[in-house]
Symmetry: C2
Subunit: 538 residues, 2 copies
């Protein structure tokens, strides 16, 4: 596939703007061909107008048609074979095996949503039947189900160039619900984005879908993202990325003349609580798996454990030592792009500069020169690290609770159970909280479990938070700043609920009801009829 | 019950502030005893602190305990007997029969949520079982359900002093989900609010609930509402009221350091489409029921039909004439308070002043003196009215699409089918859209139905939008400006979804899982296990 570098606008391409940029190989710093065209205001407007116009016919497509379309995208991604993997590797430095796994996950997600759409019970159909004999007034017939909202804006994330990007979970869930999608490709992997977008274009052609239901625009400039979020025809937004960018877009969505929902997943520090019994019986094993989790994908996961907490003492010291030893031996690795590596080094330097913070381990060949020198500043190399801080410092210094995106973590021993509880109580919202505990720990720290339940979208017991399973029970979300709305998830089948709204049809003639609300229940979906779940016809 | 005029803070009362106000009888303008104390910053802070502290024990209450608590509130409201109705009548001028009906609805809502909580399937429990044998990595066990969010701020609405006020649907759904509630009582019915709040206090005592789960503060000043929404311990907000107030609170919630979801239901114009076949066969009947719907409760329903649209001609003229005749004969009525009546008269005057807008009917004794004179301005009296405007003016003058809260409506004949479609396409978001159509109309106007589906939360066929039925299939919401988030409803069992968030428990020991997620399914709720609905244990 020869890359054209243009914006994908429905069935066509457009490169009207004069501002161009290139993908960069983060391992070498070399710019990659071709040049990509940042979208102009007119191109953004065109993308949304096409999406809006296509909505009327897309929403009439049968569930089976939509499912086959999603499956065609999955197959198209697979059919790109080694070419896609090679380009993604060149743009992100992620290893081939990881990218193959990520493509498999991306295809699986698309097929998972296809299956969800075919089965249909997710539509939450509810029927309250009429009662003409009710006094003092007859009861009307009400039937309610979830319907698509219209054009959805999706932001590709840098750290999953396939699974959270052009054809990732946001796009899959929005399309599955019956919405057109306009993606802003992440500027760190524009070639990968174009390849994925062209797969969608081809699937649209092959499946006879309206061309306008998918566009993908390029834009390193924040203005492009803001223009998408502010566009009057946009109905909702899905974003994965940094707190700064996510909050700026959230503010823009809320400040519109007509505000729209924006779900931003902005990461977290994913604390790991290692309680005394667990520490005693398998502290070394936990430390080893934590080291793997911290360095997995060069620490570039939203669920990277950025904090370990426990009761100070010999066992916790041993845990910290094992963790530090593992981290110190981890090889240098290349981050997704130079900017992200610079941010990591800068955050590393700031953290190291906090009085009382100790650098317990660094994988850097010469830890004293960890601060970026002229040569290193130009590369995307990063070295893993373990910091330690005492519990008082952790409570006094708010920046220690901020995410440091990259292969670093912080270990905080607490003097007392109460101190551990206090820190737990004051934690900001998290995507995940992990607990390592023995039976005795659980009994002794029962109130801690209650506290932690309020802090995160996912509570992990006995393992590590990285390696998120994708399914109906997935919750990838959490209280702010993990996300902008703790009531939703961006991963798993429930991600579709971000992009639908309920509509109630009152006293509608059968012929004019959606199939899912008709008496005979032709699709055989689970419905709530007069308050009770059933798949039966009426 | 002797009213004390204090703020209700958990189990106690507080009247620390020096600013007081009184309820006013809108029919006479007479101030009612006693004086009520506007809450101070410290009292607001105390209400939220009590709520936050009580959350830890309230969320551990059994579903049956919460259900009995909700039922005790319902019974308590009923047991207030005529005293509550008399006070509500004095404060709102709503007739006794209406208030009795509204109390019955309020009690019914509380019992409906009690039944929902007891049954338990609403918790959307999902279990994805582990597969230790899966390659390349074992599959973990994930279990997800909805959990309460914490303190919810609820704003009482003026137009339903019981059903959308202190013990209304917002409070009932928030408490049912396991959240503490802090209500801001509406200043137009402070005595009714105090009586209802004391019923909740008594139910808390009788049911052994933690006292802090409920507070009610008074505050005519916008500062009180803003302080509640901005309070760091508030987790979500429910509001029903005007677009101006709702948007100001929404902006405040979004601008917090930690943004929180705010669901504001802000009303709409609820267009009624009367298509030619329906007009021909029963135009007079539709006009009569529309007149009733416009004047019901002095036009003070969020779902009041504020716009009738159809194809111009003799049949539509006859419809307009019948509607006008009915409206002209409707008696003068008293609005909820002088402020709302002033707004109505002012909006009436502005609309009348638009060149091309015709006052087709007015119930005022002397229509020429409809603009507020000195005497009328002091009372809350209002006269019903019908305006007409041609379709071009409706499209050119945006204020004709704004809600005019009170007993007035606007009739717009369209020259062509295309003109009707154009107006439908440009409609802002609505709580409801109503369609009167024959079989032939539906066939001929099929695209119109598709357009209207995108505009509202509830589509009503063949009747009027007022008189909302409350149940599982209710959708009282819609695209902005009807609400701030079209994905939620403030009425019906689904209203509870505003105040809960999903939490996933990964690999948790059975003993530490919530009952709803345990293998044996002790509550027998419907769950999604490995993607399929079942009530079976695992």
């Amino acid at each position: 596939m020869e890359l054209h570098g243009a914006n994908i606008l429905g069935g066509g391409v457009s490169s009207a703007g004069g501002t161009t940029f290139r993908g960069v190989n983060p391992a070498t710093g070399a710019a990659l061909e071709p040049a990509f065209h940042e979208a102009t205001e007119a191109e953004i407007d065109r993308a949304l107008a096409l999406a809006d116009a296509a909505f009327a016919s897309y929403r009439k497509k049968s569930p089976d048609d939509i499912a086959r379309f999603l499956e065609a995208i999955a197959t198209g991604l697979e059919n790109l074979g080694a070419e896609l993997i090679a380009r993604a590797h060149a743009e992100t430095a992620l290893p081939e095996a990881r990218l193959l796994g990520e493509r498999a996950r991306t295809a699986m997600q698309l097929r998972m949503f296809a299956a969800l759409v075919r089965e249909g019970s997710w539509l939450d159909a509810r029927i309250d039947r009429a009662d003409p004999a009710r006094a003092p007034v007859p009861k009307v017939d009400m039937r309610r189900m979830l319907l698509p909202m219209g054009p959805i804006v999706v932001f590709g994330a840098s750290n999953f160039p396939l699974a959270f990007s052009v054809c990732g979970g946001d796009t899959a869930s929005a399309l599955a619900a019956g919405n057109p999608v306009v993606v802003k490709g992440h500027p760190a992997h524009p070639g990968t984005s174009e390849m994925a977008a062209r797969v969608v274009q081809e699937a649209i052609r092959a499946c006879g879908m309206p061309a306008g239901i998918f566009s993908m625009v390029h834009g390193p400039s924040p203005a492009v993202g803001l223009a998408l979020v502010r566009h009057p025809l946009a109905r909702a937004v899905g974003f994965t990325g940094s707190l700064g960018a996510g909050r700026a877009l959230f503010d823009a969505a809320a400040a519109r003349p007509v505000p729209i929902p924006l779900f931003a997943e902005m990461g977290s520090i994913n604390p790991v609580f290692v309680l005394p019994g667990a520490l005693r019986s398998r502290g070394a094993g936990i430390a080893q798996s934590m080291a793997k989790s911290v360095t997995l994908g060069v620490g570039q996961f939203c669920t990277k454990p950025g904090l370990a907490l426990g009761l100070g003492g010999a066992d916790f010291d041993a845990f910290t030592k094992t963790l530090s030893g593992e981290i110190a031996q981890s090889p240098a690795a290349t981050m997704l792009h130079a900017g992200i590596a610079e941010q990591f080094r800068s955050g590393f330097g700031k953290r190291r500069g906090i009085s009382g913070v100790n650098l317990a381990a660094s994988a850097a060949p010469d830890a004293s020169s960890e601060s970026p020198g002229p040569a290193r500043a130009r590369s995307a190399a990063a070295y893993a690290a373990v910091f330690t801080a005492d519990s008082q410092l952790f409570r006094d210094e708010p920046s220690l609770g901020d995410e440091l995106f990259g292969p670093a973590t912080l270990v905080v021993p607490c003097e007392t159970k109460q101190c551990l509880m206090d820190i737990a109580t004051k934690l900001a919202g998290q995507l995940t909280v992990t607990i390592h505990a023995s039976e005795e720990d659980l009994a002794e720290f029962a109130p801690l479990i209650g506290i932690l339940r309020e802090k995160a979208g996912r509570l992990v017991f006995g393992s590590m938070p990285t390696g998120l399973e994708v399914g109906p029970a997935t919750q990838h979300g959490g209280p702010y700043p993990a996300t902008t709305d703790p009531r939703f998830t961006s991963v798993g089948t429930a991600a579709i609920l971000r992009f639908v709204r309920p509509v109630c049809f009152q006293d509608f003639p059968q012929a004019w009801l959606p199939a899912e609300l008709k008496d005979e229940n032709p699709r055989g979906i689970a419905r709530i009829v007069d308050g009770a779940w059933t798949r039966d016809p009426i």
